[in-house]
């Protein structure tokens, strides 16, 4: 398509690159489209102006006697008895749907109980937050400098003069100082366990609850270790 010279000049001033491009159509109309279009438009106008509508039978005979002649030839078929059973089938389906809608749905956690549960849930969440906060505080206090380097806390030795002698004497008398004190005050069973006083007489009592198989395995393990 040849451009108008003024329009081409204008385009060239705006964009020489675009002006160099051709303005041919990239789209195509179907063959014969423009030849048939006037008749199609006239037919449409005529159809719109027609106020007397032909019956469908007459119309198809005029349009295409071939297609009109095929009208009574049915291709698709339907299963026998389908239309007799269909109304009952729909009625049953609707009744079933209604029954399903009417079935009461028992909801868990409704009413007062649900409110109560809400409070419990809220309290639980609050508790978790509080415990987490305490945990974090404790963690950060653990990361504090050692006591000796903490200027707020003085060494024990520097504060000893402030403690009365009578208090110190009371503290020392309450704390056991020697193993002998333990031997004097602990019972016989504690003494046996604490100082491993195990002999043949009490060994069988100690081992009676252990299965034989485990003992045999242990024995084998020990003998292997000794052999090595």
């Amino acid at each position: 398509m040849k451009r108008n010279s003024d329009i081409e000049k204008e385009l060239r001033e705006i964009s020489p690159v675009v002006a160099e491009l051709g303005n041919d159509h990239v789209f195509q109309a179907p063959p014969g489209y423009f030849e048939d279009l006037p008749q199609k438009v006239l037919t449409l106008i005529k159809l719109n102006e027609e106020h007397t509508e032909l019956p469908a039978n007459e119309e198809i005979k005029q349009l295409s006697p071939l297609i009109a002649a095929l009208k009574n030839k049915s291709a698709l078929s339907v299963p026998p008895g389908y239309f007799n059973a269909f109304p009952q089938h729909i009625t049953d389906k609707l009744k079933l749907a209604e029954r399903e809608e009417e079935t009461p749905v028992i909801r868990m956690n409704t009413g007062k109980k649900r409110k109560w549960m809400n409070y419990v849930a809220a309290a639980a969440v609050t508790g978790v937050i509080a415990i987490s906060a305490l945990f974090l505080l404790n963690t950060s206090s653990r990361e504090a400098p050692p006591l000796a380097q903490n200027e707020d806390i003085q060494p024990v030795s520097s504060r000893l003069p402030e403690i009365a002698d009578i208090d110190l004497a009371g503290y020392l008398s309450a704390v056991p100082e020697t193993p002998e004190w333990l031997l004097e005050n602990a019972d016989a069973e504690f003494e046996q366990i604490a100082f491993l006083k195990i002999d043949d007489s009490n060994l069988s009592d100690l081992l009676k609850d252990i299965p034989d198989e485990i003992l045999r395995n242990y024995e084998q393990d020990i003998s292997v270790e000794v052999a090595l």
Partner: protein, 183 residues
């Protein structure tokens, strides 16, 4: 298309009475089931699909009939529901199969899957020709050719001007004739 509208009004009145509701609804089904079945069947092709769609149509009719406005005729409304339901169904099928139902091959294949299909018979050629049409044009052709629906009523069913429907029908008939003569 001989429809007794007085009969429809009587059925609607009975439907609104709880004592006769179910009986009236059964009457509506009996009156329209075959017309609607064939309308749906010609769109969706297979009997099983048509049966599913028709059941959905009547379930929707049951739910919506209380709100049905009597300024439109019952059969027009039923056809509208059936058409929309059928088009929705084939749209769903398109999405499921990722195949275009407008695709000539897929529709002809669906038709060819029918147990009675015989491509040499003229009635099956007609069906194949109808399947070449776009959805809307196919529905216009079916409503006019098979159901003999007046354009005025069809205009209400399809929400399209009568002039556009007439033109659509004329184009459809010519396309079908060309197909039959050339195949």
């Amino acid at each position: 298309m001989a429809i007794n509208h007085a009969d429809d009004i009587s059925l609607l009145q009975e439907f609104r009475n709880p004592a006769t509701k179910e009986k009236a609804f059964t009457g509506i089904i009996k009156k329209y089931q075959e017309k609607l079945y064939w309308h749906v069947r010609r769109i969706v092709i297979h009997h099983e699909d048509a049966n599913d769609v028709l059941q959905n149509v009547f379930v929707k009719v049951w739910k919506g009939l209380d709100n049905f406005r009597e300024d439109s005729q019952l059969y027009t409304w039923l056809y509208r529901v059936a058409t929309n339901e059928s088009l929705t169904y084939i749209e769903q099928q398109k999405r499921k199969s990722s195949l275009s139902i407008d695709n000539e091959g897929s529709m002809v294949n669906q038709l060819a899957a029918d147990k009675d299909f015989d491509a040499s018979k003229i009635e099956w050629k007609l069906q194949m020709a109808i399947q070449q049409l776009p959805d809307k044009q196919r529905i216009v052709f079916n409503l006019r050719y098979y159901d003999e629906m007046p354009y005025e009523e069809m205009s209400r069913v399809l929400d399209t001007s009568e002039g556009a429907l007439k033109a659509s029908y004329h184009h459809a008939v010519k396309k079908i004739e060309d197909f039959i003569l050339n195949h």
